[in-house]
């Protein structure tokens, strides 16, 4: 079974600064995907960024980037130029790649990020 751990329950950052959220995972799978999801106070979960384990290059999406360390089973999210709208719960999630099977997500416990003006 896979486990996902987010060791920072809460974090805060000043507007326009950079913050890094940590995530570690445990799996015996070699093919898998990692995700960061954002859940604002309105509750709707949205995908922030995705990383395929077979890709060595770290994924980036505008102000969001990841530091994927496969050997260390670490997958951190960096948010640059933080904005007030980034205030939300952030969840790290794992999905194993199994042909013709379900694509269930295993989530970490979340990190509450507050961006301060």
């Amino acid at each position: 079974a896979q486990t996902v751990t987010q060791s920072q329950p809460e974090m805060s950052v000043q507007e326009a600064e950079t913050v890094t959220l940590s995530c570690t995972y445990d799996t015996s799978e070699s093919n898998y995907y990692l995700f960061w999801y954002k859940q604002p106070p309105s509750r709707q979960m949205i995908l922030v960024i995705r990383q395929e384990a077979y890709k060595q290059q770290n994924a980036t999406e505008n102000r969001f980037s990841v530091n994927f360390q496969k050997a260390a089973k670490s997958f951190s999210l960096k948010i640059s130029d933080s904005q007030l709208g980034d205030t939300a719960m952030y969840f790290c999630a794992f999905m194993k790649h199994v042909l013709n099977a379900g694509n269930m997500l295993t989530f970490g416990g979340g990190t509450r990020l507050m961006v301060k003006p």
Partner: protein, 114 residues
């Protein structure tokens, strides 16, 4: 285009009762997954359905069941409600399997069991 919709938004039930939650996926999406999110925790996978067949089941008791209809909408049923079933129930739809097509989440149904 409409996103994933869930109904009802909130409901309050008494221990021992039964509840049915509903989910309509994004048009064209054939896969629906259900997650339970207890307050302060990450979501936990309950079920996934694809083309009306169960494709995955999480570690939940048999009191939890689900089904998917020909129009790809889905119902989650919970029998003999316990206080611990109080949670936000999230539905997610995706366009297919097996590849990790992005899962689009609905706003959730907040269930309170008293």
């Amino acid at each position: 285009d409409a996103g994933v919709t869930q109904s009802p938004t909130h409901l309050i039930k008494t221990r021992g009762q039964h509840v049915t939650l509903r989910c309509s996926p994004i048009s064209g999406h054939k896969s629906v997954s259900w997650y339970q999110q207890v307050l302060g925790q990450g979501p936990q996978f309950i079920f996934q359905y694809y083309e009306k067949e169960e494709r995955g089941r999480g570690n939940f008791p048999d009191r939890f069941s689900a089904r998917q209809f020909p129009n790809y909408s889905s119902e989650l049923n919970v029998n003999a409600l316990l206080l611990g079933d109080s949670a936000l129930y999230l539905c997610a739809s995706s366009s297919g399997l097996p590849w990790p097509y992005e899962q689009y989440f609905g706003p959730g149904t907040r269930l309170t069991v008293t």
